[in-house]
């Protein structure tokens, strides 16, 4: 009788890349809800746009590379990239921002390097950095959370108004009525004011900063869910957050009137998203647990340095890209100590 002959192991856990990606998508739900709650329909519309573009570009790239469309489209990795980018860009940004972003993420950052698993840089962050440099105006026009516009959620543009803004129709309301600076931008351009003065004088900081805190809390929730489900480990996020917190505390402790306090650094901007959803990207990050810690520390330092002394208010994308570059190097020197060895290979020396 013909029995198939296979080598061990003969069983495997019911696990798949698609399941991993699905769980990541689920973990991004709280952030989507928080963004929609505070900033309106924009994020939802952009997610829809981004997913559509992502699947089209992915299918296009797979077709050009003569790969199985069904097999690779079903892994869900393009959707994760799409949702990440859609949640990172300003909710009222025009539609073509997402289109350009998805093209650079899927076609350039992912498939030109060989597709899933081969990209040295995080595709969503490549797209974000490219957009930020190419279209600084569109990319910095964050609409203000509803608390600054009126008493309730009603003050935000309606779904149809949002659609009109995103598709830039002539009937659209002027975007300027809704947009404002983000807390990090306010802090960046505080000029000669001290930190306390800017907190008092800026509406964004004194009244609305909790909107950003809320979004960060939502990202944090999603991240903890993923760690709990063992989709990722705590190493990179925790080391990044702790590093950022320590650095911010040191400078804030030394000169509170010139530096933002550490909780602002953790609570606003893309810190939480970066820590749990970008720094943990396995493809472009460091691989061993030790390596992930080093990777996270590097991210924390770079984010603080770029935020504080750089030209851009937020820094997660640039920090991630720089650390992606260093990941192979980190991997070389952070191999774990294997069973029965006194030292890890990297510290053992000798020929490599």
């Amino acid at each position: 009788m013909a029995l198939i002959h296979l080598s061990s192991p003969h069983v495997s856990k019911a696990n798949s890349t698609a399941r991993v990606m699905r769980l990541v998508l689920v973990a991004m739900l709280p952030a989507l809800l928080a963004l929609t709650f505070f900033f309106g329909w924009g994020s939802l519309i952009h997610i829809f746009l981004a997913c559509t573009f992502a699947l089209i570009f992915e299918a296009f790239a797979l077709y050009l590379r003569q790969r199985s469309l069904r097999f690779f489209l079903s892994d869900g990795s393009a959707l994760v990239t799409a949702v990440l980018l859609a949640l990172a860009i300003p909710p009222m940004a025009p539609w073509w921002i997402t289109a350009v972003g998805m093209f650079s993420a899927i076609v350039i950052a992912k498939h030109l390097y060989g597709g899933l698993g081969q990209n040295p840089f995080n595709p969503a962050m490549v797209a974000y950095a490219l957009l930020l440099i190419s279209f600084p105006i569109e990319m910095t026009q964050w609409n203000a959370p509803f608390v600054l516009l009126g008493d309730s959620w009603q003050a935000l543009p309606s779904f149809s108004q949002t659609l009109a803004i995103i598709f830039n129709s002539p009937q659209a309301l002027s975007l300027d009525a809704f947009t404002g600076a983000t807390p990090l931008e306010v802090l960046k351009h505080k000029g000669s004011l001290t930190t306390e003065e800017i907190w008092r004088s800026s509406d964004v900081l004194s009244q609305a900063v909790f909107a950003w805190y809320g979004v960060s809390a939502a990202w944090l929730m999603g991240g903890i869910f993923l760690i709990y489900r063992k989709i990722m480990t705590w190493h990179a996020p925790l080391s990044m957050l702790v590093t950022l917190f320590i650095l911010a505390s040191l400078f804030y402790g030394g000169d509170p009137s010139n530096f933002a306090d550490p909780f602002v650094h953790l609570g606003v901007g893309a810190t939480m998203m970066g820590a749990f959803f970008i720094a943990t990207d396995p493809v472009s990050g460091a691989t061993s647990n030790k390596g992930k810690i080093v990777f996270g520390i590097g991210l924390g330092i770079l984010i603080y340095v770029i935020r504080t002394w750089g030209n851009y208010p937020d820094a997660v994308a640039f920090a991630v890209l720089l650390m992606n570059l260093s990941a192979p190097f980190i991997d070389q020197y952070t191999q774990p100590r294997s069973y029965g060895h006194k030292q890890s290979t990297s510290t053992r020396g000798g020929s490599r």
Binding site: K230, S288, Y339, G340
Partner: protein, 567 residues
């Protein structure tokens, strides 16, 4: 109870052990034909010591251990040897290997056994040889000849004896059943090993999913005088791996490239201890073992006492296999077992389990997706390797890097492949890389061997040439010396003995003188000719002529001196 440590990684696959624990160990039928591979153990294959057509009795030796690491074979039942030659055997390669085939006669007639009444008063060497003679090999999985391990006390200080009762692979319950039903035999076996190795600690490592076996061992232990600790470890695959169990029970890691005995530890499987008991107290060779027959394609999932050499077919039929649902046949556990595609293969000493799985139970592997370096494999690797990197290197044929990343510390437990979300058959990649590296090393060894031989040959040729040259020189020197002596002898005018000799000498000198004169004349002619025609080299000719003149005069003089033309 001693402290339990932990090891890195590990997985919790579904245990699937309950199915086969419903009934006691049952005796499997004697098959019409027993097939006994000569190689059932690690080391060299045994050498047959019977001939085709010979009738053998149950327990009679049919193949002799060949070398230090080898094991002998015995007839599991009485019958006639009908064939010695290649047959399909349980091996991952699926290749055939030499076997002895016995057509059983159903009488199951024992040969005379020689039990040892009082092993304590026996010479240890003789006791170990007795165990070796009865073909005892490790029943845990590797089939390492037991006597070799019992000799470890000779050149190592053994302070800890670990009895491996973890049985961490899913489905397998052979050791569990054995402990439940024959814990006294196991204890007696342990006492024999302890007598031989004299360890200061004896630890039995057992997973906490075998409460009845623990209870049975505990009870048996009460009757024993030995100080044995039963160490209950948490159920986690692969806690039964030798290195992992050592780490669990002692907190010590076996250094890479060493054996446990180097750190004072010897491990034995529980099944082996029972086999040692039988060998010593009953004189029975290793001719049967407990095998778990399980999987949902079987009607009776339970443990059987099976004669070594019984074909799988006999067992599957005894367990009422449903051939319509049978999809996969595995020897061993689902994590490290060997896929079998020919059910005629026999049970060997290391066959602890046969899984007849349905398609639902062990579905075919899904197509592999690209590795996303998620690191789940790294989190479960009991050897603390970086499986994702090893995979990368194996795929890219960067074997040096794979070796640098400690590929050879991989125990092929399969935990990485089990958790891989991309369904990558990681263990296969590692096996491939390992075999490639081994082949490469073998080739290198061969090449360096060839180089050494070439260099040796070259050196030999040079040496021979030098010797030849030396001999030639010696000969030349000797000849030169001889000639010089002769010349000297010629120079000193000899008293010539007879007139004849004298006349001969004069004649010789006369000839020389005339030859010299002729040469001079020719040279003069040449000179004249050259002058007439104005050719070059006249000076040279002139000097030659001067020289020839001198020689001619000398020859003339010599001839005159010798007495020629005296008148």
């Amino acid at each position: 109870m001693s402290r339990i440590f932990s090891f890195h990684g590990g997985i919790h696959p579904p245990e699937n052990k309950k199915q086969s624990l419903g009934a006691n160990i049952r005796l499997a039928p004697i098959p019409a034909q027993l097939i006994l591979p000569l190689q059932q153990h690690i080391g060299k294959a045994a050498l047959p010591c019977v001939a085709i057509g010979e009738r053998v009795l149950k327990g009679q030796k049919i193949a002799e251990a060949n070398g230090r690491i080898s094991s002998s074979l015995h007839a599991p039942s009485s019958g006639v040897i009908t064939y010695i030659g290649p047959q399909p055997v349980p091996h991952a390669s699926g290749l055939e290997s030499d076997c002895i085939v016995i057509d059983t006669d159903g009488l199951d007639e024992w040969s005379t056994l020689s039990p040892i009444a009082d092993y304590l008063s026996m010479n240890k060497m003789d006791l170990i040889n007795h165990i070796r003679d009865l073909g005892i090999a490790g029943l845990g999985g590797a089939g390492f000849p037991t006597d070799v391990k019992l000799h470890l006390g000779d050149d190592h200080i053994i302070n800890t004896l670990i009895i491996n009762a973890a049985e961490c692979e899913p489905y397998i319950t052979a050791d569990d059943a054995l402990m439940r039903e024959r814990s006294d035999e196991i204890l007696a076996g342990i006492e024999i090993i302890a007598h031989l190795l004299k360890p200061s600690h004896i630890l039995i490592g057992i997973e906490d999913n075998k409460p009845q076996a623990i209870k049975a061992l505990d009870q048996a232990l009460r009757a024993s005088t030995l100080n044995i600790d039963i160490c209950v470890v948490p159920t986690k695959y692969p806690s039964g791996g030798e290195k992992q169990l050592i780490q669990l029970l002692t907190g010590i890691e076996v250094p890479s490239g060493s054996i446990p005995a180097d750190i004072g530890i010897v491990c034995q499987n529980v099944g082996t201890t029972a086999a040692i008991y039988r060998a010593v107290f009953k004189g029975e060779p290793l001719i049967s073992r407990v095998v778990t027959l399980t999987g949902y394609a079987l009607g009776h999932r339970q443990n059987y006492e099976v004669l070594i050499g019984t074909p799988f077919t006999t067992l599957l039929e005894a367990a009422e296999v449903n051939r319509t649902t049978l999809f996969r046949l595995v020897m061993g556990g689902p994590m490290m077992g060997i896929g079998v595609n020919d059910e005629r293969i026999p049970v060997i000493k290391t066959t602890n389990c046969i899984i007849a799985a349905t398609e639902d139970e062990m579905p075919p592997a899904l197509p592999a997706q690209p590795c996303i370096r998620c690191g789940m494999c790294e989190q479960v690797c009991p050897a603390s390797l970086l499986p994702q990197q090893l995979f990368w290197f194996a795929q890219g044929r960067e074997f040096d890097k794979a070796k640098q990343h400690n590929l050879f510390d991989c125990i092929e437990c399969g935990a990485c492949a089990y958790v891989c979300p991309s369904n990558i058959p990681l263990v296969q990649h590692y096996r491939f890389a390992k075999s490639e590296i081994r082949t490469e090393e073998f080739e290198q060894q061969k090449a360096s061997h060839a180089r050494i031989r070439f260099e040796a040959r070259q050196a030999r040729l040079e040496r021979e040439a030098a010797e030849k040259e030396l001999r030639r020189k010696e000969r030349a020197e000797a000849a030169a010396k001889q000639q010089a002596e002769r010349k000297l002898a010629e120079a000193t005018p000899k008293e010539l003995n007879s007139d004849e000799e004298k006349a001969a000498q004069i004649k010789q000198l006369k000839t020389a003188a005339s030859v010299a004169r002729t040469k001079l004349k020719k040279a003069n002619d040449a000179l004249k000719n050259a002058r007439e025609k104005g050719l070059e080299g006249i000076d040279k000719l002139e000097t030659t002529i001067l020289l020839l003149e001198q020689k001619a005069n000398e020859a003339q003089q010599a001839w005159i001196d010798a007495g020629g033309e005296q008148s």
